[in-house]
């Protein structure tokens, strides 16, 4: 029964290739997008922490 389902009346190769191509393309696009966002979030975090350091350093300087 499973083989019959996979065979899809003799057209299984074309049908499964279509679905596999769509799934792989969309999963790759999602993965790349999330990866890009996470990488830039880290950079933004670094920038923020540097900004905080700058602010706290300038605050200390102004104390003196």
């Amino acid at each position: 029964m499973i083989l019959e389902f996979l065979n899809m009346g003799g057209y299984g190769l074309y049908i499964w290739l279509s679905y596999a191509f769509a799934a792989l393309s969309l999963i790759s696009l999602y993965y790349v997008s999330v990866k890009k966002l996470n990488s830039i979030k880290n950079i933004e975090h670094l920038y923020r922490s540097e900004k905080v350091k700058e602010v706290s350093a300038s605050a200390q300087v102004s104390k003196f």
Binding site: M8, Y14, S18, Y19, A22, S25, L26, S33, L37, I40
Partner: protein
């Protein structure tokens, strides 16, 4: 007038809605795939190959619709100098590119068992191929031009010029003799396909729309943060 398109509004929307959109996507995809691959009937002429339609047609619709948004956003960005619209277009372009590629590849895989050939340079297939090339050009220009203002201007022009191809794709099956069948679903007339096939088609379309929205929101967040970081 364009207040609702403010970056902050979309940024907040992205933060709050992605989780719920993912839940909706999982449910819609499960239902859509079960209907498309198991429960929908076979076509009397095309047999089981009709199941490729549930991926091919929604992908084609979305790739056309996204380019329509890109073209419109490019026009607004160029005329009204509203940068946020070019950010929308830039975030959407890779999604449109992937869906147009899916449309061409699955169409080709559907064509071989039904037409006896993977490809034919007829009106519909050629105009769809031009859309893929336009997407590739649009995405490449953003990647290769380092100056943001220049990239924005040139891609806006590509987006507007590319709009010409959209009606050509839509009406190619009416204007020329093609292997491709005419549209079964239009906005102006009742669909000519049976409800047992229409239901999985619409559910798969809905799933792809949700997935596109999720990826768009992620890419939009990336573009906004990237812009902010580069500005510093």
């Amino acid at each position: 007038m364009f207040g609702i398109f403010k970056p902050r509004t979309f940024f907040n929307l992205a933060n709050t809605s992605i989780f719920w959109l993912k839940i909706v996507l999982v449910f819609a995809l499960i239902v859509g795939l079960i209907l498309a691959l198991v429960l929908s009937p076979i076509d009397y002429l095309q047999k089981d190959t009709v199941r490729i339609m549930y991926v091919h047609v929604p992908s084609s619709w979305i790739s056309l619709f996204i380019f329509l948004i890109i073209g419109t956003s490019s026009f607004i960005s160029l005329i009204f100098k509203l940068r946020v619209f070019s950010v929308y277009a830039k975030s959407l372009a890779p999604i449109g590119l992937v869906f147009s590629l899916i449309s061409v590849v699955t169409g080709s895989l559907w064509g071989y068992p039904t037409w006896g050939t993977f490809w034919s340079w007829d009106g519909r297939l050629t105009s769809m191929f031009v859309l893929v090339l336009t997407y590739i050009l649009y995405v490449s220009l953003w990647s290769f031009i380092k100056n943001y203002n220049s990239a924005e201007k040139i891609t806006n022009i590509v987006g507007i010029v590319g709009l010409i191809n959209i009606p050509i794709i839509k009406f190619s099956v009416e204007w020329w003799n093609t292997l491709h069948q005419p549209a079964s679903i239009t906005l102006t007339a009742a669909p000519t396909i049976h409800s047992s096939m229409l239901a999985p088609l619409l559910i798969m379309f809905f799933s792809f729309c949700i997935l596109s929205l999720i990826i768009f929101l992620i890419r939009y967040k990336y573009e906004i943060i990237n812009f902010r970081v580069n500005k510093k």
